[in-house]
Amino acid sequence: MLEGVLLGLETALSFKNLLLVVAGCLIGTLIGMLPGLGPMSIIAIMIPVAITLGDPSAALILLAGVYYGAIFGGSTSSILINAPGVAGTVATSFDGYPMARQGKAGKALTIAAVSSFAGGTVGAILLMGFAPILSSVALLFHSAEYFAMMIVGLSAIAAFAGTGKVTKALMMTVIGLILATVGESALFNAPRFTMGLTDLQSGFSFITLAMALFALPEALYLVLDPRRAESDGKNEAIKDLRITRAEARAIAPVIARQSVQGFLIGVMPGAGATLASFLGYAVERNIAKGEEQEEFGKGSIKGLAAPETANNAACTGSFVPLLTLGIPGSGTTAILLGALIALNVNPGPRLMIDNPSVFWSVIISMYIGNAVLLILNLPLIPYIAKLLTVPRNYLIPFILFFTMVGAYIGQNNATELLLLVGLGVCATILRFADYPLPPLLIGFILGGMMENNFARSVNLTDGIAFMYERPMTLCLLIFGLLLIFVPAYRRRRARALQQGVALGD
């Protein structure tokens, strides 16, 4: 492992890659601060740039930096103007915004930065321990297990979609899988379902889809409802970034607990940063005693430190399934996976062996990224925050323009733009109707791999016998089914209880 760490250090500390981390963090913070643009949109916009870099480690380092920066930028806008750009930082605004109103914006930002740093760093250390172990297990996997593992991943993502949305999430997953079957695939001899359109011969472009699903609807929402981006107070000067020793002592145990808890939640596919931050907030509120508990929601430093630590630790945790199994646990890691595949790197258990420099340099650059956020971004925040005052009339045209350029230069094809607009409008309507979109993208990205693994196992066993003949496959498949059915069953029982129906024993 030491060898790997050193190799990673060598790659990550090269001048170019250091520059990329810094650039990624800055760009991520800048754009992440704009209300309405989450990490998924930003990474989607940055992918064409990353792919043109050509070097997979450099690309992943840049994108991971953007990811961290976006989360940090999201916390900044939730603290300063109560407009979380990202669902994962909503919990931050519970206590961060009240602090800012009390004139303690500087302190709140410092606490957010320190907790993010701690969460991210602890997460990266845990990732270093977890990932090799998990990859050595995953090396025993055959295509049958991979297929089952993807089923587990997809059902976990659907199962965590939220109450009443599980069926919709499953529907979106299936639509994603269906979209993935369009065009030519590795296994067969002719393109499928292209409706005779040559533009669809190579299938839907993943960048176009990512832009259409995340960046475009957000921009259209900003157009439809201007209040989403409005700040309800004027920007006061941010000063006094220091925290006292007593405050540091108060938040230290919170950070310690939440970085581990957040990481573990992040590892689970589908849970991700949002759940981790809400859960972290809830847990800390319940642990806090008397007076401190009263403080929560009114500007408690613990209430700010908890979600901030947890969401960064979870972001790091979500890299575990991506790097070891090649299965993304969240929309963001799904986009990263797509970028890696475009760069000819196949994430999975072989990644550590085949491309150790990619694997380790990403982990090392996570430390560096966290340090950059703390050292570089924090002092710059008062200046970066000026960006929040960019008028909507200039902001929205540019967001739309960036999404279109991203889709266009990926394929150099104007039809791609029409596709982008069409899919984007569909995605906006889907969000109106409360259909979750990340499952669609994850289904789309996993679709091809899933079919390949499925086909391989079917060919090997001459049928679907592999599903019950291989114990590991069987267990995984049962686990996947349980993930979907247990929440549904429990909800039904809860509803029955509510209606006063006696439960037969």
């Binding site: 740039v49 069926t167 379902f193 909507r392 109707a433 079917v458």
Partner: protein
């Protein structure tokens, strides 16, 4: 009927059409003897899609809960308060941009798009807007052309 049910019907139709296309997929002669066919997975998927669409359709509508998404998400019931006109204007502009990008050239089309979008959103300081749009378009064109090495025709066809 709520919007999500209409969408479920739409998906149902899509999945049926897709399933039919998969079922009638023209297999090559040697493919017929294979265990796993190009249309095996599509047929499974269309079946699952039909199942889920029906489940959504038949599920009882949840009672409208007052609290929306954590982000203060958008709600269709308030659509009258939304700037639907602006949104449609921008979508139309994007389509125009897609169609004119090649013939008119990147810089021209982009500047026109940015100014048009700003105008649609209510910006009336035309001079500033044109300046910002032109600088933005030039910067991005330079970056894409030089840093990323992707050729984009900057000017209309009769000039370049």
């Amino acid at each position: 009927m709520a919007l999500d049910k209409w969408i479920a019907i739409f998906f149902l139709v899509i999945c049926c059409v897709y399933g039919y296309a998969a079922y009638t997929y023209p297999l090559l002669p040697f493919e017929r003897n294979m265990v796993f066919l190009p249309n095996t997975m599509p047929m499974v998927l269309s079946g699952l899609g039909v199942l889920f669409a029906l489940l959504i359709l038949l599920a009882p509508s949840p009672k409208a809960d007052a609290e929306g998404d954590a982000l203060g998400d958008i709600n269709l019931k308030r659509w009258r308060e939304y700037k639907v006109g602006q949104a449609f204007g921008l979508i139309a502009l994007m389509i125009v941009y897609a169609l004119t990008l090649r013939p008119v050239g990147f810089i021209t089309a982009t500047t026109l798009f940015l100014v048009g979008a700003g105008w649609t959103l209510g910006e009336r300081k035309l001079v500033t807007m044109i300046g910002v749009a032109l600088i933005g378009a030039l910067c991005i064109w330079y970056l894409v052309q030089e840093a990323l090495g992707i050729f984009l025709r900057p000017l209309p066809w009769f000039l370049s």
